[in-house]
Amino acid sequence: MNWMHNPLLTMAMPEAVVTATALVILAVDVMGLRGAGRRARFAVAATIATVGAAAAGVVLHHGGMGCVLGGVLTATPLIHFVQAAILALTAVALWSAVDTPFTENAGEFALMTLLAAVGMMFLVATADVLVLFVALELVSLSLYLLAGFDKRSARSAEAGLKYFLFGGMSAGFLLFGFSLLYGLANTTRMTALATAVAGMGANPLLLVAMVMVVIGFGFKVAAAPLHFWAPDVYEGAPLPSAAVIASVSKVASFVAFYRVLTLALPAASGEAWRHGAPGWAVAVAAVAALSMLWGNLVAIAQTSVRRLLAYSAVGHAGYMLLGIVAHTNQSLQALVYYAVTYAVTTLGAFAVVAAVEQQTGGDTLADFEGLSRRSPVMAAGMMVFLLSLAGIPPLAGFFGKFYLFTAVLAMPERSLGLIWLVVLAVAMSAVSLYYYLQVLKRVYVVEPAASAGEMTVPLLRRVLVSVLALAVVALGAAPNVLLRFIVVQ
């Protein structure tokens, strides 16, 4: 069947380009740059990665729509957009790794990151649960390695191990759920699964399978009560890895989660609240509510900014899960917008944390004191990122929340059934302002400690943070710029 491989290759060309780029980087680094300084090696890796990502992006742009092999790979404008976003964000993450000293092995790091990106690209493009699982494993394994990449740090190793153990277990759950679905429907194609499931009603096996799927993905997106890995990983992993885990992988995971639930199990969604009917929507809603509460309330007590960002990530996961609970076209558009802008913001926040950590060696609130004097650019960037996370207009985070919550309210048709979830979300947003302001208070109001010296931030990092901050502002003030590309049919 030779001619069948052509469409597959054509469809998978962007991923192939990225993989090739990764191998090229590894080759260049191993063969040519072992003697060069760390920074140079990372810069070269990042440059090649950017070029590769751009090339892949071009290929994406010219690529056609459609699906291959009955759904092993699909391509729609939305999927292309998400893949492009993944590429762009990965490239930015690699650039932010240039100034962070945590390893000498630039090539391997870039390889792992790009392989994770490839996995994510497959993850969002597939409509077959088995392929999805394989892609997810590719992503996860790469991320476990990335989490433990700093060989000199015990915390990094601990983070990697915890991530691996947690991840392995929830991957197991996910696979078990998928196998149950296969057992029920005798197919791994999501569309075929949907038809098979439609006539099943409240089959106990189906319910078990759904719960497993929710658990599996819930871990990936760091939703409570499956989030316990997040604080430790965010805290222990080297910053560029944490940035990738916190930003890019979330985008891919949410989109994949949405696709699995709506493509494979649409009939079993159930109405959340109205009839109390069983369905994944109820389960996701419960997880969302728990995430919002847990994440925001525990974040108040944090003294480490990394852990604070981790718990806030749990809260944001809760908000984004609402987009899945609503499962309308509009909510998907809102979810993608939110996830992408959240990723941009998180990358920026982690870049600033990296800069501070480099100077003071720690990431507690006290290390941020007087940042506005020590480095105005970093401080201004942090203000933009944290206020966007809090949902202050005219930043991207505000519009994301507004659009997402409105989309949730608009489902089901005009009857405001999910109003309580939205009320909870808005209330927790208000709570979140408190702890974000605590950080900003340290940054702007408190004078720097006498022992804190002058902070020199490399130009590249300053440029990066400025660009990301400007992007957050621009995407918030003119959301249409991004929304135009998020086309949901």
Binding site: F402, T406, A410, V423, L433, L437, K441, L483
Partner: protein, 503 residues
């Protein structure tokens, strides 16, 4: 042109943020010129649109997916409040001429706040109004936390969280309204024509109104106000009490009452003698008037007196809004203008003229200094501000409060009488504060302050003249504002309100 007020303020803020810390004098002048330019633009528009009718400034699509437009328009009410913002902004800068710490950042936050306030008053799209409304919160926080005094971090955080919670309530209401109206658009006209069912309005109205009214100091959600105002530096207090609290009241009128008028209708049953949300809010407003006045009477800290006085005066505005007749509501808008000026002047006297020099706000200590000899201009300014604030005829407060009481009499006669009590207590606490702060008790030995008090500077005198002069002009010729306010209240968009008890 009027939108220039927003843009020039934001531009000024940006310029100031980029200036070096040491360029203090340049920072002051940039700020003053920017604010003056904003005021000039507002006045020019005021003069050009004397009939109070609505005119569009800008209208471009913003997020077509949701029908959100960048839609700026102004009617008589918006114009009056824009002029108020301009006046208080200029006065605030004049009174902050002596800020030494991070001067450029101070004025940057200040101008950002002013720009956002202009934005709220000029927005005709409710989403846009909300965006500007939220933007106000952050500069407020930093102005207080960085340059404030008593318990500044606590006061700042309390203020920010309260405001944000209020905004959250409004956000939920806004989103629900957008969904319910079919998602056509978020302009005021589109949302007002949403055709919301009765039970929806019965829930949405109190939610959105109270959300806005938190910022307006509705009792019992007012506790952030005295703490926040006392903690804030003078210019911030002037802005907060003078203009930002009016944002809340404006939101109540422009959004809550316009979008959900049926929410003020009778429930069908009575609870404790109240039969509708309108009754409940009117009662709360009057409680605020009397409570604020009575608590102000017993304060030992001069600034707290003024802080509680703000709560009391805002109660008048909320009561005026609830009267739902032309006299009462016009009075409410006029009171927004009047109190903005007078509260600004009082905080200026207390904060800048007295506290910055004597470093004490304790009335007993101030009394011993016999300040009317050392700072005669400050005493004069406070007497003028106090007379206006207590409703002395000839000042703007008298006309406004008179109109509100007349309106209240028609709608809630019993509450009108209680309000009269509040007015009398108002006279009492102002007079008490003035006496204790500036005029030594006969027979008590005068104690000179620890260091000689600086003379009142020219910027302070100019600021006083600006605020007091405007109050007198409006007090003697309120028609200058009423000519805009009354036609604006008679506009078609308030038609559902008028179908009520309009007179």
């Amino acid at each position: 042109m009027l939108a220039g007020t927003i843009y020039i303020s934001m531009l000024g803020a940006l310029v100031l943020a980029l200036m070096p810390r040491s360029a203090r004098n340049a920072a002051r002048w940039v700020a003053l010129l920017t604010a003056a330019a904003g005021l000039a633009m507002a006045l020019a528009s005021f003069a050009a649109h004397r009939d109070g009718a609505l005119f569009t400034i800008t209208r471009v699509p913003w997020v077509p997916q949701m029908g959100i437009e960048y839609y700026l328009a102004a009617d008589g009410i918006s114009l009056c409040l824009a002029v108020l913002t301009g006046i208080v902004a200029v006065a605030g800068i004049l009174f902050s001429w002596d800020v030494e710490l991070r001067t450029n950042q101070f004025f940057a936050f200040y101008l950002l706040l002013i720009g956002a306030v202009y934005g709220v008053f000029l927005s005709r799209d409710v989403f846009l109004l909300f965006v500007f409304y939220e933007i106000v919160i952050i500069p407020k926080y930093f102005l207080i936390a960085l340059w404030g005094s008593t318990r500044k971090t606590y006061g700042a955080m309390k203020l920010a969280i309260y405001s944000f919670v209020g905004s959250a309530m409004v956000l939920v209401g806004l989103m629900a309204a957008w969904v319910r109206s079919g998602g056509h658009g978020t302009s005021l006209e589109a949302l007002a024509a949403g055709g919301y069912p009765h039970h929806f309005q019965m829930v949405a109205f109190p939610l959105v109104f109270v959300g806005f009214a938190i910022l307006a100091g509705l009792w019992p959600l007012h506790t952030w106000a005295p703490t926040g105002h006392v903690a804030a530096p003078t210019a911030a207090s002037m802005l907060l009490a003078g203009v930002v609290m009016k944002l809340g009241a404006y939101g109540c009128l422009r959004v809550a009452m316009t979008l959900f008028p049926e929410g003020m209708g009778p429930w069908g049953h009575t609870v404790l003698g109240m039969a509708s949300w309108r009754d409940v809010l009117a009662v709360l407003a009057v409680v605020g008037i009397v409570y604020g006045a009575m608590v102000a009477m017993v304060q030992r800290d001069f600034k707290f007196v003024i802080g509680y006085s703000s709560v009391s005066h805002m109660g008048f505005i909320l009561l005026g809004l609830m009267t739902l007749n032309q006299v009462g509501m016009s009075g409410a808008v006029l009171q927004m203008f009047s109190h903005g000026l007078l509260a600004g002047l009082m905080f200026a006297v207390v904060g800048r003229m007295v506290y910055a020099r004597t470093h004490t706000r304790d009335l007993t200590e101030l009394n011993r200094m016999d300040l009317h000899r050392l700072l005669p201009f400050a005493a004069f300014a406070f007497v003028v501000a106090g007379m206006g604030s207590m409703g002395m005829p000839g000042f703007s407060g008298f006309v406004a409060e008179l109109m509100i009481v007349i309106g209240a009499w028609r709608a809630f006669p019993v509450l009108a009488m209680i309000t009269g009590v509040g007015v009398v207590v108002g006279v009492a606490y102002i007079w008490r504060a003035m006496q204790r702060a500036f005029f030594i008790e006969p027979g008590v030995e005068a104690q000179a302050p620890h260091e000689p008090l600086g003379a009142i500077t020219l910027p302070e005198k100019l600021g006083t003249l600006l605020l007091a002069g405007t109050s007198v002009v409006v007090g003697l010729y309120p028609q200058v504002l009423l000519n805009l306010i009354v036609p604006a209240l008679n506009a078609p968009i308030f038609e559902p309100l008028r179908r009520g008890v309009w007179q």
